[in-house]
Each structure stands twice: as C-alpha cells, then as structure tokens.
C-alpha cells in the first residue's frame, strides 16, 4: 500500500502487468527512460524491463495502433500509448476499422487483447487539439471497451483488468489528475477491479449524479454543497462506459427518482444522451423530473483560462442543475 497520484498508480499497474506476464509490452511516443513519457507515467519501466518491452515509437499513431493490433492478434498483450486523445484523429482507422472489428469479422477466430491508454480533458490550457474528450466516438464503435479512470486506486485496478481482458480496451486518463489530483492509498501487487462495475462514490437519497473520470470529483464537491441545503445526492462513478453497469445506475435512480448526468465532452450526441435515454426507457414512470445533463458546450475547447473554465462543468453548475431538479414538484413525495 502506498499513497499515489494517478500517474504513479498507472505506472504501478503497468509495472505489475509487465512483471506477471512476459506477453505484456508497452509502445508509444517518448515512453522510455529517462523521461518515461511526457507525463512520466512510464518512468522507470524501460530501465526495469528493457527497451524491447517498453518501446519508443516514431510520431506515427497509425503505426502504433497497427503494431499493437498485429501483436495482439499474434498472442501478445500490448499496451499502446496515444499521448493525447485528440490524436485519435490520426489513427482511428486502425482502432475502429481494424482492432474493434476483427473479432467479429473473423467469426471469433481473432481476438485483440489490446489496451490503448490516452490522456484527455481540458483544464490545463492545452487548447482545442490537446484537450477534448472523445469517448462518444469510441462508445459508438462496437467491439471496443471504454474505461475512464477517476481515483488512483480505481485506475490501477481497472487498468490491470483492461490489460488482461481479451478485447481492445481504450483506457482514458484525465489529464488534470496528472498535475493536481488527489493522492490515495493504492494496493500493491496485482489487485484488479472488474470492468463493467460502477462504483457508488457517495450515497444519497434525493438525486443521483452520474459521471465518470475527472467529473466524479466535480459531482462529489457539488454533493457536499447540496448537502448543506439538505439535499443528499448519490454520486455514481461509472468507471467503465463499455461495458456499462446499468444495474447500479438504474437501481440508484429508481431510489432517488431524479438523475443528472455530468460529463465534460460536448453534450450533443454525447454519452449523456445515451444514459438519459436508457434511464427514461426503464424508469419513465418512476421519475419525478426528466433526466438532465450538465456537459461541455457544443464548441471546441478554448485556450484562455476564463473561457476554458466556462467550458468545463463545475461544481457550481452541477449544484444549480441539481437544485432545479430537486425543486418542489407535483410528483414530489411529501
């Protein structure tokens, strides 16, 4: 057990995976020592396991995903790093047309036990091409699994499960948590958290706040403020978007009868629309109010700090939306 931030927790998961399975290897831009990646996530690993297993690549994202896919087809468990999620734009063919579809196209002969790690999200003023959350692109692609880390311990456990999963898993690490995220106790060794299980980050009775990644923290902060008004919010960290734990989400909403989905990606055709629809389809008669969403606006991510802050969902916007949902209503129980 050690107190770690996100980057160190991810490093610990990679270290464990490289240690327990000789078929695991890493590839990506700048990942070898002495730097260990631009965010130092892979620091020390090439020194420990050798540069044949922690492989620097040229700036060639298609070649990275393709090499990982081919090696996975041949029985390896590659962990590819795409430095920043926006760079999916230059390798999506390899991921969406090949890695994602090969199991299906081959009638189950092929499987692609591949992990693609990437940093993502606004908040550190990287501008429009280094800040976007594009999880909806991936969720919309059958054959991919999509996981977004929030806490360090969850990141480690989920990443280990992703590496030993037999399908391509995209593992998203919120960039702001590299810089200022919390430290928490992270178990040593090969301790896995299964994919497809949401986590109730805070229990509550009046409204369910559903989020993932960085904005689990935003929702927890909002829940504290709401609590001062006597509104006890339940906060659900989905953790894994595909596969999705609908049971935990729907059970919570059935209890609270109000739901607010919070994500940073732009709202239009975002994952929040899917979650909202799922809840309405299953719980229409239980809901006191329609499901609402707090999301990024339908714009690219701006650079200027003031604009960027306005882009990203904040605890205040979540509180305001939650208060509105929790206002007195004819369907409210007395």
């Amino acid at each position: 057990m050690a107190r770690l931030r996100l980057a160190a927790a991810v490093n610990s998961a990679l270290d464990v995976a490289l240690g327990v399975d000789p078929d695991v290897f890493l590839l990506g831009e700048d990942i070898s020592d002495p730097g260990g990646g631009v965010y130092n996530v892979t620091k020390g690993l090439s020194a420990k396991y050798g540069e044949h297993r922690v492989r620097d690549t040229p700036i060639s994202e298609s070649a990275i995903i393709g090499a990982a896919t081919g090696a996975a087809l041949a029985g390896k468990r590659p962990v590819a790093e795409i430095m920043i999620m926006d760079f999916l734009g230059v390798c999506l063919d390899q991921l969406a047309n090949h890695a994602a579809k090969l199991r299906y196209m081959t009638g189950g002969q092929a499987h692609v036990p591949l992990v693609v790690r990437m940093s993502a999200g606004a908040g550190v003023q990287f501008g429009a091409q280094h800040s976007e959350l594009l999880e909806a692109w991936l969720i919309h692609t059958p054959g991919l699994k999509v996981v977004m880390a929030s806490t360090p311990a969850a990141a480690k456990g989920l990443l280990l499960s992703a590496i030993f999963d037999d399908d391509p898993v995209v593992f998203i690490e919120p960039t702001p948590l590299y810089f200022g995220g919390i430290k928490e106790e992270v178990p040593d060794g090969d301790v896995r958290i299964p994919l497809g299980q949401a986590h109730i980050a805070r229990e509550g009775s009046r409204i369910t706040l559903i989020s993932y990644g960085l904005h689990v923290y935003t929702c927890l902060a909002a829940a504290e403020q709401l609590s001062q008004d006597g509104i006890e919010a339940e906060v659900i960290d989905l953790r894994s978007l595909v596969p999705l734990d609908t049971t935990t989400m729907l059970t919570s909403v059935a209890k609270t009868r109000r739901a607010l989905v919070v994500h940073e990606a732009v709202g239009r055709a975002g994952f929040g629309a899917e979650l909202s629809s799922l809840i309405h389809e299953e719980l229409f008669n239980e809901l006191i109010e329609p499901v609402r969403r707090v999301t990024g606006p339908n714009t690219p991510v701006p650079f200027a700090k003031k604009l960027e802050s306005a882009f990203v969902p904040s605890a205040d916007t979540v509180v305001a939306a939650a208060r509105k949902l929790c206002g007195r209503h004819s369907r409210d129980p007395d």
Partner: protein, 334 residues
C-alpha cells in the same frame, strides 16, 4: 510494359517441386476466379467481387516460399493470396458466399477473410490498412525470437496512404521481419498510377525509409520466386524488411462489372494477351522440360477441386440470425 527488373544480381531458379506448386496455385486461382465471375454474371450468387485475375504469379511465388506458420495480410483483392497461403477451398469459397461453413462463419465475406490456421490473419477492405498490422504480427515474432515472417500485400494505391509511410518507417526503425508486397497493378481504383504519384516507381519510395527494395516483373512467376526468396530469407535471418514492387495488371478492373472506360482498351487487351498463367505453362514445358501431361493432370484435379468447393459452399447454410450478436466482444454481448 517494361518492368525494368533490378536489384537481384544473380537470379536463382526454382526447383521442380516449387515450379509445379506455383503452377498449381495459379491454375487454382484461374479456375476459382472463373467460377466466381460466371456465377456472379449469371446471377446465381451475389457478392461484390474484386478479381485478382492477372496477378496470380505474385501469389504463386509467395505460396512457394512461405511456411504454414508464416503470416499473411492481404486486401479485398485477395483470392489469389488466400489460395496461395493454403486456405482450404471449400471454407474459402463458403466465406465469399457468406455461409456459416466459411472461414469466418459468413461474418467477414470476401473483403474480410481470416483463416488463422493457414496464417491468413487479416484481409482488409481499407486501402493501406493492413500494413501497420503486419508490423505487429512481425513484432510478435521478434519478441518471441521466432523465425516466422509476415508478408503484407497491397496495391500501388496503398502507397499513397499515410499508413504505408508510417508502417514502412516503423518496420525499418525496428528491423521487423516483414515483406511489403506491392502488387502494382497500375491503378488505384479507377485512377492510373501516373496520376497518383510523381515518382516513377513504388520501389524508390523505400529509399526514403532506408530499406531495400526490388522492382520485379510481377507477371513472371520465376522472377517473383527469386525475389521473394531473397526477401523472405532476409526477413527470416534478421535482415529486416523489404519492399517489393511487383508490376502486374488486373484484367477485370477494380470491381467486377464496373465500367472500364477509365482504362485504355488496348492497354487491357495487351495485358490479357500476355496472360501470365498460360505464358508460365508454356515456359514450364519449353524451358523447364515439364511434361504437358503432368500439367493437364493438375488442371483436371484443380478444376474438380474448385467445382467441389463451390458445390460444398453452396450447400452450406446461411448463418443463423442468432449469430448477429456473437463475436462482438469476448462476452456474448455488452
């Protein structure tokens, strides 16, 4: 067409076994292609079909040199490569016809044939998409210290994709045991090569990445056998990748049944008049002293095998609707 064969100082010649094997592969491709075209034209079967007719000599050389455990990645124009690598005809034809008895249970179809047991790992419908994956298959052999080599086939059009350039560069940097086999049929879909690239040959593109290249007469099975042998030996013995620019021509355009107005008729007629398959047959008899009766026996056997493969394939059931949802991910459904 003057292929201007270069780069191999002293030409080796195939022995009798390889000569006959290459004949049998070409005869099989011709017979299977004829069956597909006839049955499509008559309306008996319906599929989008990219005839490899005219390019057989290239696949024959691959078939002679590759071992069963070697890997092959090919494209939607891949029937000849798939036959050469040894996919049993009944399951291959059945996949082209979308039957449950096909290599992929009918889920892949002619553009997505995989038969891992024969080493045909990926057939891609995305021009250039196979090259990055071939690197990964080759990388796995390096990590396993295995003598396995990977060949990836693609057309001249693919050499204008970013994936080609990223993949050849990475293979060079990592010294991967991969052979980039450009089946240069002079057209990328409907556009002639001279209108698609400013350099005179595909082969010279290799110089930009520091790997050896050969420009070969792709219609001459003996020359191809020699060149492929050099490249395979290089890859198998740690010498890294080779780009082969194999000049050839496709007799039936991009997709069977299309308007061929983009291709000068005299150019096409000249290529068909110089059909490499009967030319090879004459050469076997005239230059290599093969008994014509021996070839006739092969012709009869191959015709019977192809006929039987179609009979078996057509008798195979179409996939059950329930299989729509399987093989998306390792679990039944998400």
């Amino acid at each position: 067409m003057n292929p201007g064969r270069v780069a191999v100082d002293q030409m080796a010649e195939p022995g009798g076994e390889d000569l006959l094997k290459m004949y049998e592969i070409q005869a099989t491709v011709v017979a299977a292609d004829e069956q597909f075209r006839q049955r499509i034209s008559s309306g008996e079967v319906s599929l989008v079909y990219y005839s490899p007719r005219g390019q057989e000599a290239i696949s024959a050389a691959l078939g002679a040199h590759l071992r069963p455990e070697d890997y092959l990645v090919t494209t939607y124009r891949g029937l000849h490569d798939q036959i050469a690598k040894g996919i049993p005809l009944p399951v291959l034809v059945a996949e082209y016809l979308g039957r449950t008895t096909g290599t992929c249970g009918g889920k892949g179809g002619p553009m997505h044939v995989t038969h891992a047991a024969s080493g045909v790992m990926v057939t891609t419908g995305i021009v250039g998409g196979g090259l990055p994956i071939a690197n990964g298959l080759a990388l796995a052999a390096v990590l396993d210290d295995s003598p396995r080599v990977t060949v990836v086939c693609f057309g001249d059009g693919a050499t204008n994709t970013g994936a080609f350039h990223e993949a050849v560069n990475l293979a060079a940097v990592w010294d991967l045991p991969v052979i980039f086999m450009c089946q240069n049929n002079q057209y990328g879909e409907h556009t002639a090569i001279a209108r698609s690239m400013r350099v005179a040959t595909v082969a010279e593109r290799a110089a930009a990445y520091g790997i050896p290249a050969m420009r070969l007469d792709g219609n001459d099975a003996v020359a191809m056998w020699d060149g492929v042998g050099v490249a395979v030996n290089r890859a198998r013995n740690g010498g890294g990748p080779t780009l082969i620019d194999a000049l050839t021509y496709r007799f039936h355009g991009h997709i069977l049944g299309e308007d061929l107005a983009y291709q000068p008729a005299d150019e096409r007629n000249a290529a068909i008049a110089a059909d490499p398959v009967p030319a090879y047959r004459s050469r076997l008899i005239g230059q290599f002293g093969v008994n014509a009766i021996e070839l006739a026996v092969i012709d009869r056997r191959v015709a019977a095998e192809v006929e039987e493969a179609f009979t078996l394939a057509l008798a195979g059931p179409e996939p059950d609707i329930s299989s729509l949802h399987t093989d998306v991910v390792a679990e039944v459904a998400l």
